[in-house]
Amino acid sequence: MPKVMMKVNGAEAAAEVEGRTLLSTYLRDLIGLTGTHVGCDTSQCGACVVLVDGQPVKSCTAFAADLEGAEVTTVEGMTNPDGSLSVIQQAFQDYHGLQCGFCTPGMVMSTAALLAENPKPSEEEIRHYLEGNICRCTGYQNIVRAVMAASGQDAGALAAE
């Protein structure tokens, strides 16, 4: 089987893959990064979103063999170098942007992609951008608050309340 190399969270990773090995399988089963969650496995829920060369990608809907040499960031790569939570992660904790936590890795990675592109998104822009990330617990309100807070904005004033 061919060996596929990627740079995952800044470190070189390598694993032997089949043609059908998904990026989610590569990350979770082959290199042991189980922070990325597989919810639906049908491209619908966004729990498996990671960054590939800075872009949000559903890792259940990409083949590892197609990503030779890619730079991948997973939720494990989101913490600060000293191991403390990043601003986005801390905001999710502070504003109760999670309950069961299943959707959270995808939410955090999609938020990272959003804020890289648009550092101060409006509430509407946040809701629009996170449309592909489904949460069965929170009702989204606190997720939107967390993203507002993570982008340095007032998390108290949401139109939908």
Binding site: E18, G19, R20, L22, D41, T42, S43, G46, V49, V52, Q55, P56, V57, K58, T61, A62, F63, A65, D66, E68, S110, A113, L114, Y129, E131, G132, N133
Partner: protein
């Protein structure tokens, strides 16, 4: 998912050679093909990735036309077509969600011809040219009903050429669960007349609404189509909307597209 051999050529010529084997299939963004392989609706023996072919990437202006490489992701079109052809960029930016737009490509969307997909409406609504490894196909001849196109076995779309309209817009009534169009209408105004293409509505896939084109060509105003309607017969009917509802949406979304383009 059944296993397959994965190949990643770096030129169109090598991809076409790899596809000559009848059991091979192109893989572009994989946002349609991978889910359908998981469901075992599709089980190619060889997958030929198009993501490493530089000549199939990018948006470029050629006089009055915009050419888009078939393997260009939706997000790139949304960004790079914006100053040349805002109606098309707006359509690309409404497809699915950000992760779908980061991988999914125009060539994959047009080759797949899903009856609710967005790009077929832009291609037909502009009279675009679908360029393949062996010929050029007018959009009017390319789309041949749900999931059916003029492509031959092993034929590869390499780019799509859009004549840039004076004004245009895509109005999409979202089916929020799938994120596809419950009904979407692309309207484009040229010196030679107006074109109107409808997706998501007909059981035959994307189609042109000739009556609306005639009315809008003489008066480009949403009111010009207020009295027109399409028959419900032949419209898709499912749990998201009846055929009557979709027929109604065709007019409403045409009007919204005209207002947005004006």
């Amino acid at each position: 998912m059944h296993n397959f051999e994965f190949v990643k050529p770096s030129s169109v010529a090598d991809a076409v050679a790899a596809l000559a084997n009848g059991e091979a299939q192109p893989l572009s963004g994989g946002q349609t093909l991978i889910p359908s392989m998981k469901a075992r609706l599709n089980a190619p023996e060889v997958l030929v990735s198009l993501t490493g072919i530089a000549e199939m990437q990018g948006v470029s202006r050629d006089g009055g036309a915009l050419e888009i490489g078939a393997a260009t992701p939706h997000a790139t079109v949304a960004r790079e077509a914006a100053s040349h052809f805002p109606g098309l960029a707006g359509l690309a930016g409404q497809i699915g969600d950000p992760a779908v737009r980061a991988r999914g490509t125009i060539g994959g969307s047009i080759a797949n011809n899903d009856p609710s997909a967005c790009y077929p409406a832009a291609a037909l609504g502009t009279g675009a040219t679908i360029v393949t490894d062996r010929r050029e196909i007018a959009a009017d001849d390319f789309f041949q009903g749900m999931f059916t196109t003029a492509l031959d076995e092993g034929e590869l779309i390499t780019k799509v050429r859009f004549p840039i309209p004076g004004a245009s817009a895509y109005a999409k009534f979202l089916q929020p669960a799938s994120r596809f169009a419950l009904t979407g209408v692309f309207v484009a105004k040229y010196a030679s007349g107006v074109r109107v293409a409808v997706t998501g509505a007909s059981e035959d896939g994307v189609f042109r609404w000739a009556e609306a084109e005639a009315a809008l060509s003489s008066n480009f105003d949403a009111e010009a189509v207020a009295g027109l309607s399409v028959p419900a017969n032949g419209m898709i009917s499912d749990l998201h909307g009846t055929s009557e509802y979709r027929a109604h949406l065709v007019r409403v979304m045409t009007q919204r597209a005209v207002r947005a383009a004006s």
